[in-house]
């Protein structure tokens, strides 16, 4: 089998340029394998949503190769869409219909027979824990419930591939965890997911494979663990100083770590062993206001690759 047949989404030199000349996606290559959760990580404006929209056949490809479920979005958009589930960044539930009607009507757009639609609607409402709200209107639902309903709606056609554009943006922590748990369930059932996010924890929790996008390009690729191993050290020592100490550091930290990142409120020292580095800081008698040792995360990878933090 060729590469293209093994991957559900295959992109080479994929480019999106808008009518105003802005290049949102600039020649990216990636492959989404079946049964995996594939993540696009990057700050706002990195080109994640434009990439998603091309995969979902709702925005034409400007240049390059793109195949989705073995088909060409340029000529087979309708067939591709019938096998996709899409969770858009901004909810587009039908606020004039009830919760149940939203799913049943959506099933009709896919030409799913009524009896099948009713059965799937029941199952999915239970899956996203909204069965008790079936007869309610959409508007009074909380943000988390609306997102869950949108996810249920995206599953109504039993899709081969589910595309989720920033699924938890704007939700409170509890709602996010509930949503992650449902997505994790979905993964265990063997679904292929494509997720965009600008939350590192979300990417680490859900994604088997990640690409980091910045300024329309892919800047790194791999599993969350691989990315951290490749682009960061095992541990990070975070130091905070009083303003007076901070202004007079004059390179006193030099040589203590593989790399030092100076943020507005703290210094990050990238090192294999944070405790030992902290000992050395103390040996040099630098007055530290507070110190924290933690493992490297995707945030550090991102900082390293782009020179800025992910959520600004």
């Amino acid at each position: 089998m060729t590469n293209q047949q093994q991957s559900l989404v295959h992109a080479r030199g994929l480019t999106k340029r808008y009518a105003n000349g802005f290049t949102a996606v600039d020649g990216v290559d990636f492959d989404v394998r079946p049964g995996k959760a594939f993540g696009f990580l990057g700050p706002n404006g990195a080109g994640k949503t434009s990439t998603m929209r091309m995969i979902a056949c709702s925005s034409p490809v400007t240049e390059g190769t793109l195949s989705v479920i073995g088909m060409d979005p340029r000529t087979q958009a309708r067939e591709i869409k019938s096998k996709l589930g899409v969770v858009p960044q901004i909810d587009n539930l039908d606020t004039e219909l009830t919760v149940r009607e939203n799913l049943e009507m959506y099933a009709r757009y896919f030409d799913i027979p009524r009896d099948v639609a009713t059965k799937r609607t029941d199952e999915l409402l239970e899956f996203v824990q909204l069965d008790e709200r079936a007869k309610d209107q959409v508007e009074p639902l909380s943000g988390g419930m609306k997102r869950r309903l949108t996810i249920a709606r995206a599953l109504i056609n039993d899709p081969d591939l589910v595309i989720l554009d920033e699924p938890t943006t704007g939700l409170d922590p509890q709602a996010r965890h509930l949503l992650w748990e449902r997505l994790y369930q979905l993964k265990r059932r063997g679904a292929t997911l494509i997720i965009t996010t600008h939350y590192m924890d979300e990417a680490e929790q859900l994604c088997d494979h990640l690409v980091v996008m910045d300024k329309a390009k892919i800047v790194a690729e791999g599993s969350p663990r691989q990315l951290i191993d490749q682009h960061s050290t095992r541990e990070v020592l975070e130091l905070r100083f009083t303003d007076a100490v901070r202004d007079n550091l004059d390179g006193q930290l030099d040589g203590l770590a593989d790399r030092i990142e100076e943020l507005p409120d703290r210094h990050l020292l990238y090192t294999e062993n944070g405790e030992r580095t902290l000992e050395q800081v103390n040996l040099r008698e630098i007055p530290v206001e507070s110190a924290l040792v933690r493992r490297s995360s995707m945030e550090d990878v991102f900082l390293r690759l782009t020179g800025r933090s992910l959520v600004e």
């Binding site: 709702s58 034409p60 309708r78 019938s82 004039e96 219909l97 757009y109 896919f110 030409d111």
Partner: protein, 259 residues
């Protein structure tokens, strides 16, 4: 799923929303012509002298006015339905975005919405015709043609306005459309007074505008005055308007939705 079947689903979605309030909509559709005909037909009509009635082709003013109002209702309702609600489905409620993630395409959306307008205007026109019959205005069984004629007026306007709405970034343009297009057409299309009362250049303008043709067809069918020579011309005007409007609607909506 064919384009036509998918457009049926778009239609069905509107029906699902509408079926909760159809009785209210039709009751309103009944009441409004009753009020208008009472106020304008009986009230104003009573002031007209027999000699001035000649301008109306020798029929009582209310008989002349009623079918004109039916045509105007078709235009106004279709226009309203094709501005704010369509804008909602494009922008505020994002219904089309959701539909376009499914096998439903732009052409099906346009056809489904126009089919929906046809149903809405058709049912309102049928109610209106009943009112005309109750007022004793209907002269011939051919009057039932007023329903398809009014429906044609409705979809012709709806097609053009969907094309317009798809180009708008906010609803500011809509009040301009109502003020500078719909209201003048309402007043100067031979709805309330014969065009022969207008000065010659204005009369030519009125002939070129769409509502006039709808008024002629509907009045002709209700009062049994359809002219075999001019009626096909009026019909052709509205059919062409519908076709051109629908073609543009698909283009502008495609441009709007697929960036």
């Amino acid at each position: 799923m064919t384009v036509l079947a998918a457009s049926g689903r778009v239609w069905q979605r509107n029906w699902l929303v509408y079926k909760r309030l159809w009785h209210r909509s039709l009751a309103f559709g009944f009441l409004q012509p009753v009020l208008f005909l009472t106020a304008m037909g009986i009230g104003i009509g009573a002031l007209l002298t027999p000699s001035s009635l000649e301008a109306f082709g020798g029929v009582p003013y209310i008989d002349w006015l009623g079918p004109g109002l039916l045509a105007a209702m078709a235009m106004q309702t279709a226009t309203f339905e094709s501005t704010y609600p369509i804008m909602n489905r494009i922008m505020w409620g994002r219904n089309y975005e959701a539909m376009l993630s499914t096998p439903v395409g732009i052409r099906s959306i346009v056809l489904g919405e126009l089919g929906w307008t046809a149903f809405r205007i058709g049912s309102l026109a049928a109610v209106f015709l009943v009112v005309l019959a109750l007022f004793g205005i209907v002269r011939t069984p051919l009057a039932v043609l007023a329903v398809p004629f009014a429906t044609l007026v409705g979809v012709a306007f709806a097609a053009c306005l969907i094309a317009f709405t798809a180009t708008q970034k906010n609803d500011v343009g809509f009040s301009a459309i109502f003020r500078f297009v719909i209201n003048p057409l309402f007043l100067f299309s031979g709805t309330f007074f014969p065009l022969t009362n207008l000065p010659e250049p204005l009369r030519a303008v009125a002939w070129a505008t769409p509502l006039f043709h709808g008024v002629e067809l509907i009045r002709g069918s209700v009062l049994d005055q359809l002219d075999p020579v001019t009626a096909p011309l009026h019909l052709a005007y509205l059919l062409i308007m519908f076709g051109v409007g629908a073609w543009f609607a698909e283009r502008t909506l495609t441009r709007r939705m697929a960036g």
